[in-house]
């Protein structure tokens, strides 16, 4: 997991990807360069390339993520695991997120999409009115994959940062190339200076391309030394037993980079639920009603953890004990003398 570098786009600012301007400028520049424009044509082509790159980067860094709700919370059974690079051949693996797919509680994986959409958390996997505003399609997400079982699931992506590192590196490389082209376009520098600048720009381009791609952090801990705080998530076995129930939080978005479904992206936190499912499962009225209480308890407690009231309290000396409040805790100055 890396620092967040992709942010969803509010509906009012959402724009589909458009590469036309950049591509046309690049082509015109290349034509000019080929037909006697030389360095000036190359500079125009590079400007067009930069514009194209900027637009791709805008899209990858969150332009494609249409915000529905920030900091949403959901509970479900981990039913599918998608490691980094899953079903993403080059170059689509510039997106190096990894993901889990969860069957929203209290439903069974075997239930239909319509049934799941009518459940207490069904809105997460149902088309929202905001999609119509932008003419976006809907297919839903049927994830799972283990032993060819699939179910309608909420797709939750943990963020990798390749789109960001690659974009930063490529922008730097193109900027250097433009500087080289400008040097070449100024007659007083001559061809030797132009060649040196061109060689430097070429090396920078290759190095940055490799650095931006390979240097990205997947966020997948299997690529790193094991951290004591790392967790692991399990899907059910062949008998349907042993899958983890989790509570996840993240931004609820529609990802316009896919065929059409909602997801949590980025998924900011995931926590296993002890003893789950301790609620009635299925689609009965009692199960749906009881689960709403479970959902309120979990999501309420997680929300409470992030309120300013709680985070401010955590910063106060009386809450900074590490072993036990009676041992290394303290009494605030304005509190009455503690009884013993």
């Amino acid at each position: 997991m890396v620092e967040q570098c992709k942010f969803c786009t509010p509906s009012s600012q959402f724009e589909p990807i458009s590469l036309t301007a950049g591509v046309i400028t690049t082509v015109l520049g290349l034509i000019a360069a080929l037909f006697g424009g030389g360095a000036v044509g190359a500079a125009i082509a590079l400007i067009g390339g930069y514009a194209t790159l900027s637009e791709v980067c805008r899209w990858l860094r969150g332009g494609k993520l249409l915000c529905i709700q920030k900091d949403a919370c959901a509970i479900g059974l981990v039913y599918g695991l998608e490691p980094v690079g899953f079903e993403k051949p080059f170059p689509t693996n510039i997106d190096n997120d990894y993901a889990i797919n969860i069957v929203l509680a209290p439903h069974f994986p075997s239930e239909t999409e319509t049934t799941l959409q009518q459940g207490p958390q069904g809105h997460f996997i149902a088309p929202q009115p905001v999609l119509q505003d932008h003419g976006l399609g809907w297919v839903g997400y049927k994830g799972g994959h283990y032993q060819n079982r699939k179910s309608w699931t909420l797709h939750c992506e943990f963020e990798g940062n390749r789109p960001c590192t690659f974009c930063d590196a490529m922008k730097a490389a193109v900027a250097v190339a433009i500087v080289a082209a400008v040097i070449c376009a100024i007659p007083i520098f001559g061809w030797i200076a132009c060649a040196i600048a061109g060689a430097i720009a070429a090396v920078v381009l290759v190095v940055m391309l490799l650095a931006g791609w390979l240097g990205a952090d997947d966020g997948d801990p299997s690529n790193h030394a094991v951290n004591p705080g790392d967790g692991d998530l399990h899907v059910p076995d062949a008998t349907g037993q042993g899958g983890d129930y989790v509570v996840v939080t993240g931004d609820w978005v529609y990802d316009a980079g896919h065929d059409g479904w909602n997801e949590f992206h980025p998924c900011r936190t995931v926590q296993k639920i002890q003893g789950a499912p301790y609620w009635a499962q299925g689609n009965s009225d009692a199960a749906l009603r009881d689960f709403k209480l479970v959902l309120n308890d979990w999501c309420g407690a997680i929300k409470e953890a992030a309120t300013p009231l709680t985070t401010d309290a955590q910063g106060r000396p009386e809450h900074r004990w590490q072993f036990h409040p009676e041992l290394d805790g303290c009494v605030p100055d304005d509190a009455p003398e503690p009884p013993r």
Partner: protein
């Protein structure tokens, strides 16, 4: 025309960005990108060969990074955990109490065949992970060290994060004492499999009060070997009492090593001898027991004078030795806190 306008707008924005880049911005971008090269050498290349292995779709388990993964740390005043940290403990557990009709009662003064409420205070050491529907299991024991007990039952509580309105939270269970008079100890266990620290989940209250009689107070207890293998149990006495919480400093020291030093200075095991002038006789002080075996032990506290007035407190802690897994200083297995009361008339 409506389609061309946004294109021209975007191109103009790109040109503006490029002008800035060409002037100075590219230097910043190159400098920012350089650490990525180091990242390749340091971290990325060894992982490339494993990348193919990570792309299987039928995996049953996947690691999740600590920055995303949340684990609560439900905890209680856990004597065995604290002893393993080198700290002295009291068995008069500040997180467990017994009440009758809402009024706290002493664990050593319970009436037979009477309804009580056992209440456990539960904390969370985690600042970002609550423990909702946390099972708290209560067990009742006879008075002693390392002896077997009977599970009373389990209740559930919703525990918020540290600093929240629901931390601490209180677990409560009704308990009817057996018809025959006896002396009982209560244990509370917080059951949470995916716990940031699973070692601080077990707390026990285990106390007795006896009057001084010319000038001795005698305590009878059972000592058992809770393990399976034959072990030697050594009993050690100290005079530790839980001090009042200190006033908060203006600038708390959060550095873990420094905190630990302060903890050892205040609560360290070797720093709390039995009260001055008191003599503690434990008979026998060392027992070799088979797994599950229990034997009686007599502890005698002798006051410095015949006319002692007040209450003296001594803890007797049990440590197991002899098993291959055992720590060289012994594995804490339990203990009792003994109070001797004198009224000044020998």
């Amino acid at each position: 025309m409506t389609q061309i306008q946004p294109m021209l707008k975007r191109l103009a924005a790109t040109l503006e960005e490029l002008l800035k880049l060409a002037a100075i911005g590219w230097v910043r971008l190159v400098v920012n990108a350089l650490p990525i090269l180091l990242a390749i050498i340091r971290r990325r290349l060894p992982g490339l060969c494993r990348e193919r292995l990570r792309r299987d779709s039928a995996r049953k388990c996947m690691p999740v990074h600590a920055k995303v993964y949340r684990r609560p740390d439900p905890l209680i005043y856990s004597q065995t955990y604290l002893m393993a940290q080198g700290l002295a403990v009291t068995w008069d557990n500040p997180d467990i109490r017994i009440e009758q009709a809402g009024v706290p009662v002493s664990a050593h003064a319970l009436q037979p065949d009477t309804e009580y409420a056992i209440i456990s205070r539960v904390w969370n050491g985690a600042t970002d992970a609550p423990a909702v529907h946390l099972p708290v299991r209560f067990t009742v024991f006879g008075f002693g060290i390392g002896t077997g007990g009977t599970v009373l039952g389990e209740t559930h509580v919703n525990l918020g994060v540290k600093g929240s309105a629901t931390c601490p939270t209180f677990a409560s269970m009704a308990w009817r004492t057996p018809p025959n008079p006896g002396h009982y100890c209560i244990q509370a266990l917080l059951v949470w499999a995916d716990d940031a620290n699973p070692l601080n989940n077990l707390g026990q209250t285990n106390t007795d009060v006896q009057p001084l009689n010319s000038p001795r107070a005698r305590f009878n207890l059972m000592v058992g070997n809770p393990g399976r293998a034959r072990r030697t149990i050594r009993l050690v006495a100290d005079g530790y009492r839980l001090p009042a919480r200190a006033r908060c400093p203006d600038k708390p020291d959060d550095e873990p090593a420094s905190r630990r030093r302060q903890m050892l200075a205040r609560h360290g095991m070797a720093r709390h001898p039995v009260p001055e002038g008191w003599h503690v006789d434990i008979e026998p002080v060392e027992l070799t027991l088979a797994g599950g075996e229990e034997r009686p032990v007599l502890v005698t506290l002798t006051a410095p004078t015949d006319d002692f007035t007040g209450r003296a407190t001594v803890n007797v802690n049990g440590f197991a030795y002899g098993h291959a897994d055992e720590h060289e200083d012994g594995t804490p297995i339990g203990g009792v806190t003994l109070h001797a009361e004198g009224h000044g008339h020998g």
